[in-house]
Amino acid sequence: MNAVAWSRNPYLPHAAQVVERVEEGRDIFTLRLRLSDAGARAAYRFQPGQFNMLYLYGVGEVAISIVSDPDDPGLIDHTIRAVGRVTQGLQRLKAGDALGLRGPFGRGWPVEAARGRSLLLITGGLGCAPTTSMIHYALQRRESYGALTLCHGVKHPGDLIYGERIQSWCAAPDTQVLLTADKGTPEWRGRVGQVTQTLEDIAPEMFKGVAMMCGPEPMMRAVAENLLRRGMAPADIYLSLERNMQCAVGHCGHCMFGGKFICKDGPVFSYTEVSALLAVKGL
């Protein structure tokens, strides 16, 4: 599924440079990157939902989704939440700083299979970078997809990021955004409750399209079961999974989920492929 043929060592990062850095929220930032080598830049292609391994000098590599548009593969955007050693180091990078990048890896969203159909995106938790790429992709090609609904749930209203971006999505044709927080505050204008509850308020036609999810596994499972009850086919429900990743090329064994390597068979799976495994704790 990789767009780049492996003519070189798959472990060896390319040199890349930070072109721009955008503050998105507390400890969340977007890095716009550019591969330093012109040849590597020309060969680089990706699909929404794929990810890169970003290398911070002297510290290590982490898996980060690509959120920018595949039609402009010369500039690669990553929205990152600083949580630990590598991501906190990435947080300190400024425009002009150097880092390593290898990728793209994995199987992304089913952009072809979903063409012409409505898109129901359901996300939970912070960031949810993987679905962001799909939203951008569909809104850039608005006529290729049907109605788009985003249901986004956060724990606390303060966790919401991409405020301006979400406003612009709301303004896009045939696009609806439903925000919900587990607990409200006086200023919160979204709903209060679980993300599954927002499904009550969605036009029934949306359940005839394709659903794409990312977030905590129990939440995705609850949403998927809810969608099935509303008549969606398991093969039309997609989700992006996450596991510890060391290599991204199917060698380190850390990303295994049953017989799947999330780094190469995923990170995007259809519910048909993983529903039985998702029902089991500790896999």
Binding site: Y11, L12, Y55, G58, Q246, M256, G258, G259
Partner: protein
């Protein structure tokens, strides 16, 4: 080529090498530029180490292996290869326990440099059928082919430079079950030269052009029908002597339909989560990657190092632990090894070497664990086990 009754090719036979001429093989390999590694007795076990002369090889030793136990004893004969095997397979010669994948320099920009292994032909003497099977399983993980669109350059470099002198087993350890996994005790393929040890000579055959070239330099004598039959019978006898066998029928469904089986709790009470089983297993490929900075801070080396699914770090995600309990980790190991592997690579991840049984400090036997899950619930109740969990 000689055929069995079933018509299966047994072995190619080039001739007979007297035991006291084995040194010629070692010297021939050395003269051809190979670093030669063979079995050595060290700290009470057979391990692979550099050999320069045949008289460095262990003589007259046999390994007594049981769940959780390994002991070298006097075999009472002068044979070199009756020891069967030790904790090491060929794994570390191809997939290094620790190696630097690349280095990176920083001064405003970052400059990456791959650090491929030094090309140094290596010949390993004494590899067993299970070890060759282990290599062919790992080839599916690391080499370009049906399961990969690229080769791991580190593994591939070593693979291309490995010369294997296999030994068909004429003795099995009590923990061996290669016959039931269809991988041994006869080495079928993947070797350059194969030896069968007889009373005071080896029946010798080549499995590759490189092997044939080396054999051409050896003082071989013609092998007679009687010796060939004797060798074949000795290998068959080793197979028949195996008391353990793993029933692999329908094993993917068996294990994946029983992910909540009470046996996982039972084994978790015995398993120390030490990871020995994964270290000795010829097919386990898990590794972690870490950066080691140079003291002056100008360069960093990116290393990979064997890891085990029994460590907590293996399932670490920021803010979450995927497999917090030993039952989760043992289940990950066993289901991967025996079932998920088939989905991933079209073969079992187990070649039946029995090492994980021998080297488990608490003597956990994966065959028993599978059998406990396979046993019908009614039988299990009669044996006094807990009732079956809902699945």
């Amino acid at each position: 080529m000689l055929g069995t009754a079933k018509g299966e090719p047994v072995m190619s036979v080039a001739g007979l090498l007297k035991r006291d001429q084995l040194d010629v093989l070692i010297q021939t390999l050395r003269a051809r530029g190979y670093r030669v590694v063979g079995p050595r007795a060290k700290s009470g076990a057979i391990v692979y180490d550099e050999v320069s002369r045949a008289d460095e090889l262990p003589v007259g030793l046999v390994s007594v292996q049981e769940p959780g136990r390994y002991r070298l004893e006097d075999s009472g004969n002068g044979r070199l290869f009756d020891y069967v095997h030790g904790p090491e397979s060929l794994k570390r010669f191809l997939f290094a326990p620790q190696e630097t994948l690349w280095t990176v320099e920083q001064n405003g920009e970052v400059r990456f440099k791959e650090t491929l292994p030094e090309i140094r032909p290596l010949a390993v003497i004494g590899a067993r059928a299970c070890d060759l099977a282990g290599v062919s399983v790992q080839d599916r993980t690391f080499l370009k082919g049906r399961y990969n669109d690229f080769s791991d350059p580190y593994y591939a470099t070593r693979r291309e430079n490995l010369f294997i002198v296999a030994v068909h087993c004429t003795r099995s350890a009590a923990t061996c079950f290669c016959a039931s996994m269809n991988t041994g005790p006869r080495a079928r393929e993947g070797y350059d030269i194969a030896l069968t040890e007889l009373e005071d000579a080896f029946l010798v055959g080549a499995g590759s052009a490189a092997g044939e070239a080396v054999l051409a330099d050896l003082p071989l004598q013609p092998a007679h029908e009687g010796e060939i039959t004797q060798a074949a019978q000795a290998i068959d006898a080793a197979a028949r002597s195996q008391t353990r066998r793993l029933d692999t029928e329908n094993i993917q469904a068996l294990l994946f339909n029983n992910l909540e089986h009470p046996r996982w709790d039972d084994v978790a009470e015995r398993c120390l989560s030490c990871g020995n089983c994964t270290l000795v297993c010829p097919t386990c490929f898990c590794h972690r990657e870490t950066d080691v900075a140079s003291l002056d801070g100008k360069e960093s080396g990116h290393q990979r190092q064997w890891d085990s699914c029994f460590t907590l770090e293996h399932g670490y995600l920021h803010g979450a632990q995927i497999r917090p309990q030993i039952r989760h980790r043992y289940r990950q190991w066993l289901t991967h090894k025996l079932a998920a592997w088939i989905e991933q690579f079209g073969v079992s991840g187990c070649v039946g070497c029995g090492r994980c049984i021998t080297w488990c400090p608490t003597g956990i036997d994966l065959i028993e664990e599978v059998n406990a899950i396979r046993l019908p619930a009614a039988l299990r109740r009669r044996h006094g086990a807990q009732p079956e969990a809902k699945t």
